[in-house]
Amino acid sequence: MKRIVTLKTRDMKESVKHGGCGECQTSCQSACKTSCGVANQQCEKCGKKD
């Protein structure tokens, strides 16, 4: 596309089918402790796709 560059991202809708294993890190157990941000958490099953 001439005017639009799309970055590679995880497909959220696809993750409905295969996600939710619950093995990922609990957000607050890392460095924040006073705010909630899940976006920077890593999926335990990824760089694998789903």
């Binding site: 596309m1 920077n40 999926c43």
Partner: protein, 457 residues
């Protein structure tokens, strides 16, 4: 839902419900903005007038690209999660993480401490080995189906009860073998008691360590003092350097808190980097608006500038081959959390519980000491099921204020404790924190765009 913004010379378009990120030129930026509320003919007219050097065919091509992305589910994606949100969070009721308050006592007297110098507005206390072991048993018993379990040694200052920490790690390793679990232990420390023993043990056993440092010496020493009023910077910095040097490739964060006193906090983060630390975190202070160091509305635009400055500086350092990591700018667009995680959030009060030195359970460390939020104990388990259900239902879709917010799948509706302290309800929002969070995510995504375009060149 679409969120568009311009930052660092990039025009960025987020498609909220698919998680797609696009970098577009000015014409496509305008076209996307108008796409759902204008006819093609109107868009042609308006953009034709605005971009006189662009042909009609070119505009039509852009509209066709937008249509294609929409058909692929990468633009204007509809929200298909709202109806499922409560089911998502109901799926799992296991506990998988504990914040273990091994010491409600501290050897520093930090003015801004949310835990009131480690005592959480209560009595000083140290967790006994027996209570700690029972907490780990409780975790194993309540984590059916989960392999990875997390235990953070927290306080107060956990190293004031280091012997118990060591014995609990050993006990955890026994439980791992017996029950097929993996314990990831972490330690959050102010550094005062770090010695060779602590370094050797932690670098062997701790999955992650969080080392508290607020940045520049004057900033750090202003609020992080001993009980005799001495700043702690000179004591802890050499210890942290030694700790990190010997840590190898194991995880750590040097983590600070910024306040109204240092709204130029990027200088503090870069000071940490200059000390040789690369894994960095800096959090806005959590306190009453009446406290003298509370962040103000006047501070807000300065804080936004600081977040931008940090992002640009990080990109510059990365190009120079000297990258640093900032916790809130860590985004893995391809390997980040699934939609379940994005909706259900940190798991406080459900998957994640705090345990006091007496074995009492709270939804998280930030609720400890507030009797209304006592959930039970490690012997009887969670007995306040009403409260547990309240937390179970608290997610990205439970907050009215988040309904139209583009960032809700990045923050899951935000921190329940912050919401409670700001509004009296865990389903409220801490609006100031939200605004800062959105700025951080915009910066983090801008960095991803910059990196992706650099790679493509």
């Amino acid at each position: 839902m679409i969120h568009q913004y311009k930052l660092g010379g990039y025009n960025i378009v987020l498609d909220v419900f698919s998680g797609s990120v696009h970098c577009v030129d000015d014409l496509a930026y305008d076209a996307i903005e108008m796409y759902e509320t204008n006819s093609s003919d109107d868009i042609l007219d308006i953009l034709g007038n605005k971009y006189s050097d662009v042909s009609k065919e070119d505009i039509l091509d852009t509209l066709s690209d937008i249509e294609e992305l929409k058909a692929e589910g990468k633009l204007f994606t509809k929200d298909e999660y709202a109806d499922k949100a409560f089911d998502f969070k109901n799926r799992h009721t296991q506990v998988k993480a504990l914040c273990l308050h091994v010491a409600h006592v501290c050897n520093l007297n930090c003015e801004y401490c949310f835990a009131s110098q480690g005592k959480y507005h209560g009595e000083k206390a140290i967790m006994s080995l027996e209570t700690g072991k029972r907490a780990l048993d409780f975790l194993v018993e309540n984590s059916q189906g989960r392999t990875n379990l997390e235990v953070d040694f927290f306080g107060g200052e956990p190293l004031m009860n280091f012997d118990v920490v060591k014995e609990l790690v050993a006990y955890g390793r026994e439980l791992e073998k017996k029950h097929g679990k993996v314990f990831r232990f972490t330690l959050t420390t102010n550094g005062m008691l770090i010695d060779d023993d602590v370094i050797e043990f932690s670098n062997k056993e701790m999955h992650n360590v969080v080392l508290s440092l607020d940045g520049r010496k004057d900033v750090h020493d202003r609020l992080r003092k001993t009980y005799t009023g001495q700043g702690s910077y000179d004591t802890i910095v050499p210890k942290f350097k030694e700790f990190v040097k010997k840590r190898g490739d194991r995880g750590y964060y040097v983590r600070g808190t910024f306040t109204h006193n240092n709204i130029d906090f990027t200088s503090d983060i870069l000071h940490m980097a200059d000390l040789g630390f690369t894994e960095l975190s800096m959090e806005p202070v959590v306190c009453s608006p009446d406290d003298p160091y509370a962040l103000t509305d006047e501070d807000f635009p300065v804080l936004c500038e600081q977040y931008e400055k940090l992002a640009f500086e990080m990109l510059r350092r990365e190009k120079e081959g000297k990258p640093i990591t900032f916790y809130h700018y860590m985004l893995d667009l391809e390997g980040g959390p699934c939609i379940y995680k994005r909706i259900s959030g940190c798991g406080s009060g459900t998957e994640y519980l705090a345990v006091t030195p007496w074995g009492e359970l709270y939804p998280c460390h930030q609720f400890v000491g507030d009797e209304k939020y006592s959930m039970g104990d490690i012997w009887k388990g969670v007995t306040n099921t009403e409260l547990q259900n309240e937390f179970k239902m608290c997610n990205a879709y439970a907050r009215e204020d988040c309904k139209d917010c583009w960032a809700k799948l990045y923050c899951s509706g935000g921190c329940a404790a912050n919401a409670y302290h700001a509004t009296g309800s865990i389903t409220g929002i801490y609006e100031y924190g939200c605004r800062l969070f959105k700025k951080r995510i915009e910066c983090a995504i801008m960095m991803k765009v910059a990196q992706a375009l650099d790679e493509a060149e």
